[in-house]
Amino acid sequence: MELFLQSIINSFIQGGFFALWAVGLVLVFGVMGVVNFAHGELVMVGAYTIWLLHSQYGMGYIPALGMAILLVLLIGLFMERFLFRPKREDPLGGLINSIGVLFILQVAALIVGGTGPAKQVAPPFSGTLIIEEIVRVPYQRLFSIAVCIAALSLLWFFLTKTKLGWSLRAVALDREAAALQGININRTSMIAIGVSGALAGLAGALMAPISNIYPHMGHNVIITAFIVTIVGGIGSLPGAVFASVLYAFLHTFITAYFSGTIATMSGLLIMVLVLIVKPTGIMGRRISE
């Protein structure tokens, strides 16, 4: 029973992270038509920024979190301008360029952090919320989930309530028709990857105090993000968020009662099943009429 309740709480926290990883990937894919394979590495850079600035140089956690967001956002803008924009008519070219960035960032992490064991950051928010001696939630995780929910709500507000947000969705739906409304595609792509990068940096910064930090930590991020975007319906942000929570439950419970490897394998299996049975995902629509 204790394990069960604890797993429910953990699932929500995991779900928040999964969603934060996935929406950035979906946004860039939707607006720019590129699968950004380096998305996991962008999260990794966010985590390394916290390790470097907060743990090594003693900067406060919150300012370091701001720096992580800013740095990854700038990397995103750089990628759009110099790697994706020249390949706009060639999605495969964009994808290959993103794989290049993936390796470069991993090597950069090795140079900055060196080899050796995974790095850890002492949680800046110490203490644990204990409910009825049954469920324990460290304050650090509470902080993370609150920030996740705030960030996702802000994104939702931006995309559904502001004209600029509508323009992003318009470009994702029909790029040419959007251009005919006076929407600048380059500028819109910059906004999409900027938001995607900021969310990836934030996710990494939030993960830093509660997980291991190492150059390949992006693998898990990208695999999970693929699973939930495909299950949720490629291009559907609500679908990705919904699938994130579902998958987090599945993952947390299988990890709790069996093992983490079985959990990830089940996720991949579900992804393949969805691709076979309903390729548009649970909330996706058919692309054509």
Partner: protein, 235 residues
């Protein structure tokens, strides 16, 4: 001269779609471009809006060359397009679609006034303002596409086969609105396969055949032309 195409060529890869098209549109004019499937009508409008780059020739708007500009800048100059196949944003609401038509405008009061004007032209859009684009009928989607283009407050409106696939009564309705819009001083370039309707509405016509202008002149005289009659009017 409001809009002028001079000897415009457009190629898709190596294949020529336009081979020297010249068209002139005066301020407040109403011209039509007729032609059969694959003649290059859509390509002509796409080139004007900057969706295709001419391989040679010149397109100018009020004596300023525009063929090197991106579509968003051309829209800002005052050229709006109702594209072939309507191309409304199906997962956005009717009102969001219309607001995006006014994306580049910052004068909220004027935008509000134009939104009311569009709802005046198309009361059915007002009833459906909070519905998603995909729930509209074909005719309503066409009205939305036209309304969206009007929201940019254009000087020149390009329409690509707005009557395609619509019931005659809806076509009538749209035809009447085009006359209204033109009456308010907006110049119109109407691309149609429905030559009867187009030549009735427009003042001047161009007949496009395999990428070049085969005939041009007053709409009335074109409607009486033997070649046009047999090839396009089905009389």
């Amino acid at each position: 001269m409001l809009l002028e195409l001079q000897n415009v060529h457009v190629h898709y890869n190596k294949i020529a779609a336009l081979q020297g098209v010249s068209i002139q549109v005066e301020e407040g004019d109403f011209i039509t471009l007729i032609g059969s499937n694959g003649a290059g009508k859509s390509t002509t409008l796409r080139a004007i809006s900057g969706l295709e780059k001419p391989s040679s020739g010149e397109i100018s708007f009020r004596d300023q060359a525009i063929h090197h500009l991106t579509p968003d800048r051309i829209l800002k100059l005052g050229i709006a397009q109702v594209p072939e196949g309507r191309r409304i944003f199906k997962d956005l609401t009717v009102e969001e679609n219309l607001q995006l038509g006014a994306f580049t405008r910052s004068d909220k009061v004027a935008v509000r006034r134009d939104l009311d004007a569009v709802f005046g032209h198309f009361p059915r859009l007002l009833e459906r303002r909070n519905q998603l684009g995909r729930t509209l009928s074909g005719g309503e989607q066409q009205m939305l596409s036209i309304g969206r283009a009007l929201m940019s407050d254009p000087t020149l409106l390009l329409l690509d086969e707005p009557s395609l696939g619509l019931a005659p009564i809806v076509v009538e309705e749209i035809a009447k609105i085009l006359c209204d819009i033109n009456g308010k001083g907006v110049a119109i370039v109407l691309v149609e396969q429905n030559a009867d309707l187009a030549l009735e509405l427009a003042r001047h016509g161009y007949v496009l055949e395999t990428g070049s202008i085969a005939l041009q002149g007053d709409a009335d005289s074109l409607a009486r032309n033997e070649h046009v009659k047999t090839a396009y009017l089905g009389i």
